[in-house]
């Protein structure tokens, strides 16, 4: 009998039902956040970026960053080019690996104690169904500090910034 359920227990049960209902509502929508990011895009194919730099590793690293943004953060699914709603393509335009940002002067010499990498990329997301450009950002520049000679640490920071820029850009389409 409901009237015999103590008030505290009733409150707990009500809370549990509310939480479950919310969870069900979220789970029932398979692409909960996709609809709020890129219109009509649920699957994407990431094409290899053109690499205009002397650093071949950037081709894979930019692809990993784009995948992290689209799959990991925006909940889109990665698919083949033939079946994807949209394709992501772009170009690594420029790579400056060792820009000095912090110097220490000594006797007759100056030591660079901190440097940064700067990576400039063009990114474009094209809806394959209607051929429209969903999102485009030419000349997107990201950077990352590092302690010499750990250039890769700087690149990791720069790629995380790229991930955030793509997420922000995609969400601005909402």
């Amino acid at each position: 009998m409901a009237s015999s359920i103590p008030r505290r227990l009733f409150r707990r049960l009500s809370g549990a039902v509310a939480v479950s209902a919310t969870a069900l509502a979220v789970a029932g929508c398979p692409y909960g956040f996709a609809g709020g990011t890129l219109p009509n895009v649920r699957t994407v194919a990431i094409l290899p970026f053109d690499n205009d730099t002397p650093e071949p590793a950037l081709t894979q690293e930019v692809s990993d960053a784009v995948r992290q943004a689209l799959e990991g953060r925006l909940g889109l699914r990665i698919a083949t080019e033939a079946s994807a709603d949209a394709i992501v393509r772009g170009r690594v335009v420029r790579y400056d690996p060792d820009i000095p940002i912090s110097l220490q002067s000594g006797a007759g010499q100056v030591t660079v104690t901190k440097r940064k990498v700067q990576i400039t990329v063009d990114v474009e997301i094209v809806n394959q169904r209607d051929g429209t450009t969903v999102w485009k950002h030419p000349g997107l520049a990201v950077d990352g500090d590092y302690n010499p000679p750990n250039e890769k640490d700087g690149r990791k920071i720069a790629w995380q910034k790229l991930v955030q820029q793509i997420v922000d850009g995609a969400q601005s389409q909402w």
Binding site: P48, D50, T53, P54, E55, P56, A57, T59, S63
Partner: protein, 199 residues
């Protein structure tokens, strides 16, 4: 050799392709691009499935200026003259090569076949060009070293005499490299930085 020059693009050209490589141990596939600055320079970029294993190389003539990672590029492209041939381009013969050639014309089928041989002390390169009045032209190449076949390539050309698809076989390995061209951009802008090496 005017004929070899005619096979090269007149302007900087970007060729995008899909590729497959297979030998007795491994099978790889992916996408790639070749940026060709005539007459002799090429930046070759490749990436595997999900853009993994990406690498690049700069080829000047018949030699590799740099490749990164070097081992991957050497596995994928063990014979530079065959890479040019796969992209329907022929390198001029070496200065010390003996050059011979012949041409046959089939007036019934409107086919023309040209044969060229560039023979050096150890290496011989044979080329056969089958030209069907601008349709279904084929460039075949064979590289022999001390009599043994190192590689054979067969490149299909489109109506504009640009590469459409190619297959390169390495009988000794045995291994096969195939590519299918998706885009040929004859107005490509090639930035100077692509030729530099970081290592």
């Amino acid at each position: 050799m005017l004929w070899t020059r005619a096979t090269l693009p007149r302007a900087p050209t970007l060729i995008r392709f899909r590729w497959r490589y297979q030998d007795e141990r491994v099978k790889y596939a992916g996408r790639g691009s070749a940026r060709v600055a005539p007459p002799d320079s090429m930046r070759f970029d490749y990436a595997g499935f999900m853009n993994l294993g990406a690498g690049a190389a700069v080829v000047i003539g018949d030699s590799v200026a740099w490749a990164d990672p070097e081992k991957n590029f050497r596995s994928l492209v063990p014979a530079i003259p065959m890479l040019w041939a796969a992209l329907a381009m022929v390198r001029p013969p070496a200065a010390d090569a003996t050059v011979s050639g012949a041409e046959l014309t089939d007036s019934v089928q409107h086919k023309r076949r040209a044969f060229w041989r560039f023979a050096q002390v150890e290496d011989t390169l044979d080329y056969v060009v089958t030209d069907s009045a601008g349709r279904e032209s084929v460039l075949e190449a064979e590289w022999r070293r001390r009599g043994a076949v190192v590689a054979r390539s067969r490149s299909q050309l489109d109506a504009l005499q640009r590469p459409a698809s190619a297959r390169v076989d390495f009988p000794e390995a045995p291994a096969r490299f195939e590519l299918t061209v998706g885009v040929v951009d004859t107005a490509a802008v090639i930035p100077p930085a692509v030729w530099r090496s970081r290592r």
